[in-house]
Every structure is written in C-alpha cells, then in structure tokens.
Amino acid sequence: MEEVKPQLIKITFDGIEVEVAPGTTIMQAARKIAEADESQAGLVPPAMCYYKPLPSSGGKCRACLVRVAQGSAKDPRPMPKLVPSCITQVQEGMVVENTTNDAVLETRKSIVEFLLINHPLDCPICDQAGECHLQDFAFEHGSAKTRYEEERRTFDKIDIGPNIQLHMTRCILCYRCVYTADQITNKREHGVMGRGDAAEISTYISNAIDNEFSGNVIDVCPVGALTDKTFRFKNRVWFSKPEDAHCECDKCSGKAIVWYRGDEVIRVTARKNVWGEVNEFICNTCRFDRKKTSDWVLEGPTKVKRSSVISANKYRANLVPKPDFAMKLAATQFKPIDDSRPYVTDTETIREQSIENNDKANHRSLLSQNN
C-alpha cells in the first residue's frame, strides 16, 4: 500500500520557518525547532502546566503565552490576545512571536510574579530545589524583586499514603497530578477542592491514592508540592548522582533513574525527556522499595543538562550544550560591580551606619506589622 503523507504545515516561529503535521500545537512546533538545533532551545516557550504525556493538560498556567502576529495565510489578521502556545494549533502560514515580542516577555514576567506571590520561597529546605521548574522559570523569566507585601496563603502538610507528602503551600495548581491520577485510576479520588487561591489538591479527604502507580505524581509535579517521603531531607539533588538503570519488573518497564549519595541509593525516579516530561511511568515498587544497587542493572550516568545545577560539573563528557539564551541573559544582566565607594575604617562612622541600617530594618518590620 502506498504511504499517504500528511500535508505539512509551514509556520514561522520567532523568524524561523518550520514544517509540522496538521494538528500540531505551537509549542510542539517550537520544540521541533529546538530538537533540530539545540542552540535554539531558548526559543521554546516555558511550560509549567502542559505535559505532553498527559492528554488534556495545559492551558492553565499561562506561562507559554505567545503572540500570533498572523493567524494564517488565508486570514492574516493577528490574534487579538496572546494565546497559550501549548494548546493552540498551528495554521498554514501562521506567524508566531515569542522571544521576539516584548509584550510576551513582559507578560511572562508577570506570570512568574503571580506564581511566586503565594509561594513560600522555601527552596533552602525543599527537596525539589535544583530540579524545580518554578525555580528555572523564575530564574529565566522573572525579576529579582517582588512587589508583593501581603500575607501568603498557607496550608498544612498532609500525607498521601505512606510514601508521598503534599505541601500544598508550594503547589502552583498545574493539575498535572490530577490528570495523572485520572489516568491511573478511574475513581476520581485525587482532585482539586475549593476555589481561587484557596483551591487545593486533595485526595478526597486525605484518602491515600491506593494505586501501584501513584508515585508518579511526584515526578510530574513541577514543584516541591508532591515529594517522595522516602527521600525527604536525605540530600540536595545536586549532591546526588543520577544513573540510568533498569530492572526486571512485572508491573512496569523497570526503566528508571537511580540516585546515589556515595554508594547508597537514596531515591528512584522515572526517566524524563529534555522537556522534563516522564518517558514512562514507573511502579511504586521500583520507586519506593528497590533501594539497593543489587536491585538494578546500571547503564551509566544520566545525561544532565549543563544548565542544571545537578550537573555540578560532574559529567563533563555527557554535557548537553548550554542554551544560548543563558549567555545572552548573563551579558545583559550582570554589570561590573561599582566599588568606588570609600573604604570606611573609622569605627564611629561604621557604628552610625549600622544604627541607621538597623533603624531602617526596624521601621520596615513595624510597617509590615501594622499592615
């Protein structure tokens, strides 16, 4: 039988032409550009909620908003609003602006700000730090200062079964875990309760999601809201060493990453693609119970992005080239330090300055108490 090739659609993304199959989203078209040329990785819109392996994910966080400057060849009008690239399908002749459009970048900056205003910023004690998409997102697209002076919303930590802990305070409500749960169980046990910024992930009144694959919600969670209790406070991820490994498993493919501290296996996770998406879900036995080297056949060090802190210069041979944008960012943001201030040695001046600084600090804390 003759193979019928689907007609490809040509679009322009940030000035680069790319051909994709009909039905492809703008996000996937951009990823295609980057997959062909790694130096273009910085063009790809960030995704905080969209997750390719989870159908119907996306469209929520608005991190990936882009401008469509021309809707299609047939109807060249621009789209009136910024559109979520993760769920908007391409049209023949579409022209998309992402990093080339200031309004897009400005909006993205505000999305970082929105996601952070109620975030506890407890990275120093969070197990996700170092592999957190919110950290990356904030670093790449956010601003260093906050304008938020109000109280942050908080929740109590809860345990979801013996192995998973939910820190709702850190959650960005991306719904990925909800879609994961929908995939692995049809009982709708894991979902969202409440509304607005009081909405919370919940396993119907703290029921444990009792499923062999429940641990995967940890991997899909972009932040430290769902964490592995067997790994809790064991180590910073950048001090641990990921190794690709597999095992004979009768429940899942057995393909995983085994994380070491010295000779000790401190956690097991699924493998992810370059976009941080899980390739194949692994079962809870692999994840929580196979914590000995003898349980695994090691394949070699996991490829880690150079831009990730996990690389920590440990895996020179396997480095993925550093994306161009990080260099550009550094060039624009890092200024030489102005150190022309006089060097003060006089103790009296030092004392006065320190009192003045203290007063300022006290004043500020008084202000915030009054608020």
Binding site: R62, L65, I87, T107, F114, I117, Y148, E150, D197
Partner: protein, 445 residues
Amino acid sequence: MARKILTEHINVPGIETFDVYRKHGGYTAVEKVIKTMTPEEVVEEAKKSGVRGRGGAGFPMGMKWGFLAKPEGVPRYLVCNADESEPGTFKDHHLMKSIPHLLIEGMIVSSFALGANKSFIYVRGELMYVIRILEKAIEEAKAKGFLGKNILGSGYDLELVVQPGGGAYICGEETALLESLEGKRGNPRNKPPFPAVKGLYQSPTVVNNVESISNMPWIINNGGDAYAAIGIGRSTGTKLISASGHIRKPGVYEIELGVSVDEFLNSDEYCGGIRDGHYLKALVAGGSSVPILPAHLITKTANGEDRLMSYESLSDGSFATGTMLGSGGFIVFDETACIVRNTWNFSRFYHHESCGQCSPCREGTGWMEKVLHRIEHGHGNMHDIDLLVDISKKIEGNTICPLGDAAAWPVASAIRHFRDEFVWHITHPHEASQPGAVYRDAVLA
C-alpha cells in the same frame, strides 16, 4: 408607557399557572413553530430580530444559532443559563419566579429551532424555590402536550431538565456551566473548541441566557422584523434592567433599548431619581464586571451626546470614558458611597469566585483584594495605586475565561476615574478608615 415584551403580563394574578398564561396568549408560539415552521425558519426569525445575548456579552443570538455544528448522528443541546450571580443583576430571577412559562415556551421554540431533543435549564443553586416553580411549570406543559414525546402530534420530542447549580458564580461562564452540568468541577474550558462545536458531552451546544430565550415567543408571534423595529440601531428590542443602589425605586424594569440614561435614572416610570437630599456620584451600568462611570460621564458621553441605554451608547468612548450594558445590573451610587470601599468589595467577590485554574486570575484577584483592603483600612502606600493598575493589566486578556477581565475592569476603571479618592485614603489613613468615611470633593457636585 414603553412597550413590554417580557413583562407585559407579569403582574396578572396566577400567571405562573399554565391556564392563566395560556389565556394571555401563551404557547401560541409553540403551536406556530410546530405546525407551520421549519427549524431553519425559526433561526431566520431570530437572526432578523437582531436580539443580542442578554447574559453579558451581547452576542447576536441568531448568529450564534447559525454557528451550531450539525454533524450526522450527534445530538445537539440547548442549555439555558439561569445561574445569574453577577452582583447587581437579578432580572432572570424575577422573570423565572413570576412567569415561568415564558421561559419554558422560549425553550421549546428555541430547542425546536436547533433540533435539540433534550434541553437544560441550569439554575443557580440558591434559588431552590424557583427551581420548584420551573419544575411545576414543566409538568403542566407536559400534561398539556406542549412538552415531552410527540409535541402536539408533530413527532418532535423534547425533554426539559432543570439542573440546580452548586452555588458558584463561575458556573455562569458557559463552559464552566457545561462542565458542572456534566457532573464535574465547574472549571471553564479553554476555547477553541467553542460550545457550538464541542459543548455538552462533546456535542454541539448553544448556551443562552434566560432573558435571551424568553424573547423568542414574542419574536415568533410578531416576527423578527417587528422585534428589530423596537430599540435603536443594533440594540434591538427591550432589555430588563435590575436597578439598585441609592435610587428612589429600585427594582426590575423592562426598557426599550435606546431610552436615555437620564430618563431611566430620573423619570418616575423607572428609577425615580436619586434618593432625596443626595446627588449622583457614580454608576455601574451593567453588573459588577463592567467599568464604573463617574457622574459627569453618566448622562452624557465624553463628546457631549446624550448617553442612551443601548449596547453602543454605553460603550461609547470605550473604556476611557465609557462602559458596557453587560447584563443590565444598574447600580447607582450617591455621594455617600466610598469608591475605594466599593472597589474592594467587588474585588473581594472576584477573589472569592475565581475558579483558580489560571495563574493571573487565581493569584491576581487575591493580590488586588489585599491591596485594596489595606488602602481602605488606612495602610496604603502611594505606589499601591499604580501597582493595582499594573496587576489589573497583567490579568486582563491573559486568562482562560472572562472572569479575569471582569475582576480587572472594576479596579482599573475606579482608579481611572476616582484616583484622587484613592490618594486621599492613602494621605489621610486615619480619617479614611473611620466607619462610613467618604471622600467628598468639589468635582462631584
């Protein structure tokens, strides 16, 4: 007296019963469409009438019907949006509780036009007594052969289901409503696909407001052209206005679109003017979501023309000096109202009602509320004002559903027109935070 289309018989004793409604010309439209018209002809009349959606957005109803996809073998649905929860809007409630058969008749006519065999009325859950009234009316219509199987012997079947909502404003947004109707959490869907293509249970669906649908019996009886002759320009027909606030006669009024705001506000036929001894300060013309207007832009537009109660005239000057007809929630403020407090109150509502799916709305509504709360209670800083404007801009247009815009507009417009009042709250924190404190200024007189 202005012409009445919806409320002509609303005060007739017993009009909530089938027999009295029938005696006053009820269900003749059903007879007419079932016996003499094709669905396409009914759609054509709706198009000719020019009637625009009364739920807020004002999209022409006939045109919406024309977009309905009609794939073979897939059911089509009509869903009536009776979730009415917008602060300041209470017209659907009034209509349904007083003259329920009007909506039922409109639903039958419209379902016939769209080829729907099962239609839904989604009523806000707080209105249980209205739900009972509607259910009773449905039973009556069924008993008389106007609903159910083989209506009037035509072979056309229609089942009408009344569904109570769970008490969330967001379930009035049409796609959230459909999710809720399907038994899911009421989160708005991303669009496209639009309900006309994939709506209820992934089937083509039309969602229309109670008032929009209730116009259909009259349109069928008198013709779309007769309807289009009422009103002004593209604002055809009549509109129910829920008038509230500091006026002499609050209530629901049916107006012909195109009466002047001045007449509506001051004549004894309608609001009867501002209560004695007070004067007009501000107006929210179309429900809490639309921009607020200051006194000098209410009865006249920025270029000095009379402001009319119509879609076009109210939005004259866009958001810089205009507003929107919206759902017709006409909230009047006299000089005793504090704009900052009111803006905070609206903001609190949107914060409470955001579904929390998308980051700008989930986080931004709470942020704005907290900043406004601070300003109102004497803890504001000067930079908070521009911060509020900036937050509202970052929400507007960047969200899944229009609730984000609806939360942003009242804040942005209050600052646009009443910035000095915000400044006064910040410069006079002690005075401003006293109960009942209001900024008074010469401009208002």
